[in-house]
């Protein structure tokens, strides 16, 4: 599966060159990524699929700059981020990436508004600008009127909308969604996926991890992983 590694156009936003991630589990070595070569285009909508232990979570952590490769290279927007330090990775996540999680991962003691504002806080925005942005994002995901609520007062679907608004706050280049519908009923899940579809139509690059085929169907490309390698890629790749 190394036929994509040579492409290096302006449209390319992510490229992995022989990416390996090896965990030491006692005496055993686990090759979570066993030399992956892949490249994603700007504005694409990917689903990463595979059984548990296939390396899809590791893939997500690496692409999301939450973890570093053991060997190989990772280019994000043409920049080699393989050997960047912890603060550098934080900075990349802060400026270029947004995250949506299965369990929403909102901070319970903060209001909806403050949760949405969180990335802006670390970006150093002032309170007034942050509040304005939080309001417009809440409107965009259909949460107007909920800004003063705490996450515990919201339904699952609403919580995921807050998470999406938060992921959009820093106007990221790539949105990572880790099983975004995993904790939601089908109808609510569909609504959330619709929001992701809209974001994709507006040109955001989306990388979604899921094991559900009908969820993955929302993505234009499906990347199937097995044993730390890409098994196959479906869709209009």
């Amino acid at each position: 599966m190394d036929n994509q590694s040579s492409s290096n156009s302006d449209a390319e936003i992510i490229r992995l060159d022989n990416a390996q991630k090896i965990y030491e589990m006692g005496k055993q070595q686990v090759r979570a990524l066993a030399g992956v070569n892949v490249s994603f285009e700007r504005g694409s909508f990917w689903a990463i699929m595979g059984p548990s232990g296939s390396g899809k979570s590791t893939m997500m952590n690496i692409l999301g700059c939450l973890d570093r490769l053991t060997s190989g290279r990772y280019f994000l927007e043409g920049q080699d981020v393989s050997s960047i330090n912890d603060d550098g990775l934080s900075e990349l996540r802060l400026r270029h990436l947004g995250f949506i999680f299965q369990s929403f991962n909102l901070i319970p003691q903060l209001t909806v508004q403050r949760n949405i504002e969180l990335p802006l806080y670390y970006l150093g925005w002032d309170a007034r600008q942050s509040a304005e942005r939080a309001q417009s994002l809440a409107y965009r995901v259909g949460l107007e009127g909920r800004l003063g609520h705490r996450p515990t007062e919201l339904s699952g679907g609403q919580m995921q909308r807050v998470a999406i608004a938060r992921a959009l706050a820093n106007d990221p280049d790539i949105i990572f969604a880790d099983e975004p519908t995993g904790n939601l009923d089908t109808a609510t899940g569909e609504q959330i996926l619709k929001v992701l579809d809209e974001l994709s139509e507006h040109g955001k690059t989306i990388i979604m991890v899921t094991h559900e085929k009908n969820v993955a169907a929302h993505a234009r490309q499906q990347l199937h992983m097995l044993d730390g390698l890409i098994e196959r890629i479906d869709g209009d790749y």
């Binding site: 603060d87 995250f99 991962n105 003691q109 670390y122 970006l123």
Partner: protein, 422 residues
């Protein structure tokens, strides 16, 4: 921008504390009592030492006071009927001290006796102080009315008297009394002035200026009342011959006080067979009192340090638990893009807010306690700005020091693990 973040961090710190009111209160308790006891102890200690130091300072830090005392073997023999004890400082001692030392700028002889006095209808026992005008230079007393003794009184051997505020009030003397006559013993003196009184005891030095003092010129006292004092007690009569009760000496420089006191002692030793005198150096007492105060402060500081240490450990304990409890929150913040240092500063600020609020509450307690003590026990207490600011800074510092370890633990949290943490 960074300052703004600190302010917002402080606010969110306060919000977090309000979220767990009981826990925050319990966490702060150690600091509250630590700081409270420091403030209270400092103010009580400060009050006690201020009183002592003030009284010693009133004696003049450049002064040496030589007093007559009955020697021990003399005391034993007073049981003998009609015995006359002769002891104490003499006029010759005074002349020798005044002339022999270049470091002495002023020497004042003092004669003390108790005499029944009468002003108009009122009569009471006053302490008569025979002295020279220089007395009022050594022991400055604000004049309330009239004047103090002057050189002319001394030269003319005028029968004039200066009353002291408290004594004057008791005998119903006012500023209108100036120029009137007061009967002291069997002699009549003209009242020329009233000075403020500064009564009380300091250490073992009797302040010469007692509340009911009446000052008359030295030579007049000697001429009118002589040197023999007769005291009647049940069944016996005591007669004492004391020429001078005190010699007050002023030294040119504080550095020379102790050497001069030593030289005076050596001189007196040569002329007195018995040790019927005592030399007090207010400066030495002052130093001693200050040393005592320092020692007291060290003890206080240690107690305070221990209690703040205990408080700090309490805070650290809770903050470590908080970090574990909020692992997921830390993971979320890290995933969003918070750097390790930002996590550290968030937790450090929260801990400092906690300990500083604890410190403020403690100061509230600590200020209240001395007020209660003063009100009910009548003990003097002094709250100085330092005794409030110092504990406040220390409590904030305790937050920083004991918050550092939990904050670093928080920063080490791996976002990947933390996001899966339940």
């Amino acid at each position: 921008m960074h300052q703004l973040r600190v302010v917002r961090n402080i606010w969110s710190g306060i919000e977090n504390l309000l979220l767990h009111k009981l826990r925050s209160l319990l966490t702060m308790l150690g600091i509250v009592f630590g700081v409270g006891s420091v403030v209270a102890m400092l103010s009580v200690g400060e009050g006690a030492s201020k009183e002592a130091l003030d009284q010693i300072r009133k004696l003049g830090s450049n002064n040496i006071i030589v007093s007559s005392v009955k020697a021990v073997e003399d005391e034993a023999s007073t049981t003998v009927h009609s015995h006359m004890s002769i002891y104490g400082l003499t006029y010759e001692d005074y002349a020798r001290i005044a002339e022999s030392f270049s470091t002495i700028t002023e020497a004042v002889p003092v004669k003390l006796m108790r005499k029944e006095s009468r002003l108009g209808e009122r009569s009471m026992e006053l302490r008569v102080v025979g002295t020279t005008p220089a007395w009022f230079e050594l022991v400055p007393r604000p004049t309330i009315a009239g004047r103090v003794l002057v050189a002319e009184d001394q030269q003319g051997q005028s029968a004039v008297a200066v009353l002291t505020e408290f004594g004057a009030r008791k005998i119903l003397a006012t500023e209108h009394t100036i120029g009137e006559f007061i009967r002291i013993g069997i002699d009549v003196f003209k009242v020329v002035g009233i000075v403020q009184s500064e009564g009380g005891q300091a250490g073992n030095i009797q302040i010469p200026d007692q509340e009911v003092d009446v000052y008359i010129p030295m030579d007049v006292a000697r001429k009118y009342f002589g040197d023999v004092v007769t005291r009647r007690t049940t069944g016996s009569r005591e007669r004492e011959l004391v020429e001078l009760h005190q010699i007050m000496v002023e030294v040119d420089d504080a550095e020379n006080v102790e050497s001069t006191a030593h030289a005076i002692e050596q001189m007196l030793e040569r002329f007195h067979k018995k040790k019927d005198y005592e030399i007090s150096v207010p400066l030495a007492l002052l130093r001693q009192a200050e040393a005592t105060k320092r020692r007291f402060n060290i003890v206080l500081g240690s107690i305070a340090g221990i209690s703040l240490l205990v408080g700090g450990i309490g805070i650290m304990n809770i903050m470590l638990a908080t970090v574990t409890e909020r692992t997921r929150e830390i993971g979320i913040r890290r995933a969003i893009g918070a750097k390790r240092n930002q996590i550290i500063s968030q937790f450090l600020i929260e801990t400092s807010v906690l300990s500083t609020i604890g410190g403020l509450i403690g100061i509230g307690f600590g200020v209240l306690v001395p007020v209660v003590i003063t009100h009910f026990a009548g003990m003097p207490t002094v709250i100085t700005p330092e005794s409030i600011l110092l504990p406040l800074f220390i409590s904030a510092g305790v937050g920083l020091i004991f918050g550092l370890y939990p904050a670093m633990r928080a920063a080490k949290v791996d976002p990947i693990v933390a996001l899966r943490h339940e």
